[in-house]
Amino acid sequence: MDNNDLIRIENLTRVYKVGETQVRALSGISYRVQQGDLLAIMGPSGSGKSTLMNIIGCLDKPTEGKYYLEGEEVSTLDKNKLARIRNKKIGFVFQTFNLLSRTTALENTELPLLYSNIPRKKTRDLAYKALSVVGLEGRELHRTNQLSGGEQQRVAIARALVNSPSLLLADEPTGNLDTKTGAEIMDIFKNLNQEKNITIILVTHDPDVSKIAHKKIYLRDGKIIKEERE
């Protein structure tokens, strides 16, 4: 066992019950992610990549198998402990941005810190800092509906970064953006990975997006069918 593994998943299986029938979204996935990796999870829709991301993001629990995050087994934790892990160790970036409407960029960025015990003054400073990392200096007090799609996604990235997570999870982060803006967002991910050594997992079906990744896994029908690494 390698203790440098940031993520270790063993024989991960997730079965949904839809009425009488059972849907096997993941069947026996094992994989390791090291600190500093930039991994792309690829696959067509229905391949199980969203399910895998939800489990890695501690939003969901596997039916079978084990999931270790920084050496701690999280597959057995209860809802509240999973919430703490999401708060401390994981940052999410979604395809649809998922920002609070009618709220400023700053307040959106602060959101994860409101659920931790960081003093109020410090949350402000951290939020300003995170927004400057994604290049939104001077736009902190703009409301989300006054920002362009690209800017909204930058706010989402700032929100994911603000609690200095061990892991950044991005689900189709460029899916709702035009090509040029999408490329800018991908540059941000690339820089975060290279300069700040942040571990990033991208979930996408777009080969252009996955170009920046050094590791790729391809899913189909809940199984890894191909692994690539540079």
Partner: protein, 406 residues
């Protein structure tokens, strides 16, 4: 996550949708306002009744003839006269819890001054009548014991009679005629206003009871009633007992037999009246509470809609690490903040509207601290009670489904 932070989060969430927040709170505003103004009307009525009785004197006692049965047939109270001037004298001399007495003989008569005439109540009373009834003299004097004893033909006018006969001219020293008998006016009583109902307390003339007996009624051995004032309110029950004892002996009533007279205690009557206004207060407050309850249901309704509308927001909050408890507390805090703010505004509205009511309707209103505290606490608990269910519903959402919700 501490309380202040929870409140701050919920305040932010509320301020993002000000119109909805205001409409939600409106139910509580109206409810609390209604409770406060309705209770203030009830309490104002109670206060008005108390003041009226206070002005009559709470240590006032009335002695009246009782009913007498004659061959098994009962007459009504006061249907026959069995009180004598000597009864009054005996009470004055023997009952030590009694301060003043005033024998009372009353009749109605036409009175004439110059070319004006007026029909009014003639009260034959003792010299201590103003003290007993807590009644002040506007001008002139009231007759004293000497005048009463000698049965002089003098009178003191009620303010209504004074206005009707003299129309602003100085009445003191003038001669008016009661049943064609000339009386000299020596004083005018201060106006007291209506006692409620038909009876105007200012529409009367006071003359010595001795004069009334001799000149107007023609019978000196009977009086209608006796007004008594006890030494103090605390001793008024004692005074009642002493009077009963004295009169039972004087009227030769066998032990166990019914009294042929009644002694009524003014504070008892006052308490009875206060009790009925208390029922009024409870009734009004109860009706208003219903609107507060409806306001609470309004909060629950809007909060439930708001939870459905904000499923995505809840999902976002959960994805960045909000626990079930955090979401529960946020939505609960929103409901409580709304109902508290509504409560505060409602208190303002209630105080304002009770002032408006007393200004325009002329009713006395009284906003008590108690009713404010009650309404405030009630509105807070409405928030907790009706906010809990939607908040719990929000906290039980699954983060993945909440994030996916369109």
């Amino acid at each position: 996550m501490n309380i202040i932070r929870t409140i701050r989060i919920s305040l932010r969430a509320l301020s993002r949708n000000k119109m909805r927040s205001f409409l939600t709170a409106l139910g509580i505003i109206i409810g609390v306002g209604a409770v406060i103004s309705m209770i203030s009307i009830g309490q104002g009525a109670k206060r008005a009744v108390e003041e009226r009785f206070d002005s009559m004197g709470t240590n006032l006692l009335f002695v009246r003839p009782g009913s007498r049965s004659f061959r098994g047939r009962h007459g009504g109270g006061g249907t026959y006269q069995n009180l004598t001037p000597d009864d009054a004298k005996a009470i004055e001399e023997k009952a030590d819890a009694v301060r003043y007495i005033s024998p009372n003989v009353s009749t109605r008569a036409q009175i004439i001054y110059g070319n004006k005439n007026w029909n009014t109540s003639i009260q034959g009373v003792g010299a201590k009548y103003p003290e007993i009834r807590n009644w002040e003299i506007e001008e002139g004097i009231f007759f004293d014991e000497i005048i009463v004893k000698s049965g002089q033909k003098v009178c003191v006018l009620g303010s209504e009679v004074n206005e009707n006969l003299f129309e602003g001219a100085d009445p003191i020293g003038q001669i008016i005629r009661i049943k064609k008998i000339p009386f000299r006016v020596i004083g005018v009583l201060k106006s007291r206003g209506e006692a409620g109902g038909w009876f105007n307390r200012d529409d009367m003339i006071a003359i010595p009871y001795t004069t009334a007996q001799r000149r107007l009624i023609g019978r000196t051995d009977r009086i209608n009633s006796i007004d008594v004032s006890a030494i103090s309110m605390a001793r008024s029950m004692e005074a009642v007992e002493q009077i009963e004892e004295i009169l039972r002996i004087r009227h030769k009533i066998a032990p166990g037999a019914e009294d042929d007279f009644n002694v009524r205690n003014m504070s008892e009557i006052a308490e009875g009246a206060a009790e009925s206004t208390k029922i009024l207060t409870i009734l009004l407050g109860g009706i208003a509470s219903v609107s507060l309850l409806v306001g609470g249901i309004g909060i629950m309704n809007i909060m439930l809609v708001s939870v459905t509308e904000r499923i995505r927001e809840i999902g976002i909050r959960m994805s960045v690490g909000a626990r079930e408890k955090d979401i529960l507390l946020q939505f609960l805090a929103e409901a409580i903040v709304l109902s508290f703010l509504g409560g505060i505004i409602g208190i303002g509205m209630g105080v304002l509207s009770s002032n408006l009511i007393s200004h325009f309707a002329g009713w006395q209103t009284l906003v008590s601290i108690d009713s404010i505290a009650l309404a405030f606490l009630f509105s807070g608990s409405v928030g907790v009670f009706f906010g809990f269910y939607p908040a719990r519903k929000a906290s039980k959402l699954d983060p993945i489904e909440a994030l996916r919700y369109e």
